[in-house]
Homo-oligomer: 181 residues x 2
């Protein structure tokens, strides 16, 4: 992803948050992470996030999904003494379709990203509307997509070590290098 | 505090949150904790809060302060293997004056509750506006008050065990019985 695309997505993310009464500082806007996972289709498979705090005890982030944007399937493995990240997703605005391990839901409401079908393997659907939340236990494969209006999700969790996330799609790089324009 | 006062404060809290685009479920509205600390002056010394999640790993709450309402001075002690609660306060709306241990600020902006002056002993002021946050380490005495417009504060923390909080004011009961009308 190019620097200019990152900056544009940061601006769009800050605007979405502001429209929903979520204020970021100028410093935070510059720290918004635009995660394209090295797939070069940010609007399809991607996620925007700001980490408010991440210590050895807990973590809190705001996640923004553009309309129908998908965070690809992954899990949080144990690391040393840590059993793996436990995370609670709380929908703040919009609508989120979350998929976890378990009995597959028939007629899921998300659209699996075209060309990446083989990297989506869990289909137990949880729909989250504003005020609704769900907690994902360590090691559980999951992916999520917003509805047609996009979504804002607050994530409350144990310590975040994103660089250890295990993605089903082997093409994914969680932390690709940003190319200067 | 009487049940009717609790229900009224819950309604007011839910309205304040809704006005700031923070949605609670009906179940959550009924679970809003109205903390008067057994002092019978809720509008002066009190706090309203909803706990989204509290596990053995992390906790997240939304705190609401009515205009100039004060959460009295307290600290979070170690409990067993837990070094005590670490908490991050992030101001979402309004203005918060937070006081922690350290060099006293001259001319503090909060008004110490009349009649309770001897139970306020730390005066190092941190002012939080929307988008600003501060992390309080375990064992540190602290108290906070909102400005004239009230405030909403997101609290991200390690596990919460409110019943063990140590208040400077010996009259305080953290979990007083609610009287049925």
């Amino acid at each position: 992803m190019k620097r200019s695309e990152v900056v544009l997505a940061q601006k769009r993310t800050a605007d979405i948050l502001q429209q929903n009464s979520i204020v970021l500082t100028e410093d935070e806007i510059g720290r918004i992470e635009v995660a394209g996972f090295g797939l070069n289709e940010l609007q399809v498979q991607g996620l925007e996030l700001i980490t408010y705090i991440n210590t050895d005890r807990y973590c809190a982030k705001e996640l923004v999904l553009f309309p129908r944007q998908t965070c690809p399937e992954h899990s949080h493995p144990p690391i040393g003494d840590d059993p793996g990240k436990t995370e609670t997703f709380r929908c703040r605005s919009g609508r989120v379709f979350l998929y976890v391990e378990g009995e597959a839901t028939s007629d899921i409401q998300a659209q699996v990203p075209v060309g990446s079908e083989s990297y989506y393997t869990v289909f137990h659907q949880i729909e989250l509307l504003p005020g609704q939340q769900y907690t994902i236990q360590p090691g559980i494969k999951h992916w999520f997509q917003s509805g047609d209006q996009g979504a804002i999700v607050s994530e409350f969790s144990s310590t975040s070590r994103d660089e250890y996330d295990i993605f089903t799609d082997p093409r994914i790089e969680r932390m690709p290098v940003i190319q200067e324009d």
